[in-house]
Subunit: 231 residues, 2 copies
């Protein structure tokens, strides 16, 4: 079985990478854009750092808790759909058997093969419900431990990402100088992050790198423009 470990690896990496990507994309982008925007309107590092740290706290909590509740609601959704399916194979037995037959016919099995296989499945209620969940509804049993891991991964990635654009404002005295360093450092970080992200998600790394940098650049430019417009 050379397949199974490979797929397992693929999927586990997929979820963690996805969480890191979710957290770090926004963590690198939003505090960066906010700080850049504010630097176009106020000339005080203290205010920019305050706003930046407040944003990192708010963003990481909102995204982390958001991710936690999203994962939990996926799990609850699965349970409630499963209960519905369990009721239906009893209450709407014939219709559900017909649905199984339809599924098999849609994969090209003959009338007779479909009927026989559906009949066989209908004698095993648990396997039957498993089958309907995956085939008819396209739902998979979620890992109950995912919710917390997902929350912490997203929040951690957001915080790690957020300190990159903010650090020049903390270290350097002049906001103008800090802005230049922040822009250069963050665009570079977005480029590297996008490249690595592309590598993990199976996209073309260079395209992913440029796209990711572009999102950050557009967000920062929009924030800067709006802040300038007001002040």
């Amino acid at each position: 079985m050379p397949q199974t470990p490979h797929i397992e690896r693929h999927f586990t990496a997929g979820e963690t990478v996805r969480d890191i990507v979710i957290g770090m994309s926004d963590g690198l982008t939003v505090p960066f854009a906010l700080a850049a925007g504010l630097s176009g309107a106020v000339n005080s590092s203290r205010i920019i750092i305050t706003a930046g740290l407040a944003e990192i706290a708010a963003g990481s909590i909102a995204m982390g808790l958001g991710g936690y509740l999203a994962a939990r609601s996926d799990a609850e959704h699965y349970v409630s759909e499963r209960r519905r399916e369990e009721r239906e194979i009893i209450e709407l037995r014939d219709a559900e058997i017909a649905e199984v037959e339809d599924v098999f016919r849609s994969y090209g099995l003959s009338e007779e093969e479909s009927a026989r296989t559906a009949q066989s499945l209908s004698t095993r209620p648990v396997a039957w419900v498993d089958f309907m969940m995956r085939f008819e509804l396209g739902l998979e049993a979620p890992d109950p431990k995912r919710a917390l891991t997902s929350a912490l991964t997203i929040a951690g990635a957001y915080i790690a990402g957020g300190f990159i654009p903010l650090s020049p404002y903390i270290v350097l005295a002049h906001t103008h100088e800090a802005l230049i360093f922040s822009v250069v450092m963050t665009l570079l970080a977005l480029l590297i992050f996008g490249y690595v992200k592309g590598h993990f998600t199976g996209a073309v790394p260079l395209r992913s790198a440029l796209q990711t940098m572009m999102i950050g650049g557009i967000a920062a430019a929009a924030a800067f423009g709006i802040a300038r417009l007001i002040s």
Copy 2:
């Protein structure tokens, strides 16, 4: 077929609701927390409004474009996995037939039924790959139009959400007064939003309402605390 339209409705609503939930959760929470945080450190409505609008611009672009690229990368992931599966049913034909048999046996079909069904499926390459995508990998063909709709829904929900906590600072002269209105209005909005969200996602509405309000409250309190600590 009473099932199919019901499921269709269920899934379509699910994705749009999910996008609105993603955008509005953060849109209500992060600008709210940022404005509340800043009001603990600076006494200028102008700076709070500037930071708030810069955040809304940055957040909506980052999340909207992020959602767009996530949906696109899901679509690309599906295509690349499908190609791999298409190669494997030729290059690793026997192993793939054995995998199909394993799947059917795991649903309780007999040795003979599994072998016969797998054999039948193996004569139809397209159906076979469809089957492996759904059964072995648990992947479904994504809707190519989802990416743009998803992006606009997330960004729009973020902007709509963000203006609720920010509007008191725009309308009222004193930041302290605006803070109180912003807190009351936003917590109420989070409560209503959480309730409606719960109704749509099948969670217990009241619990969803309280949880959503709690996330906003915690994020705002953390941002306020950090901003006070610095100033």
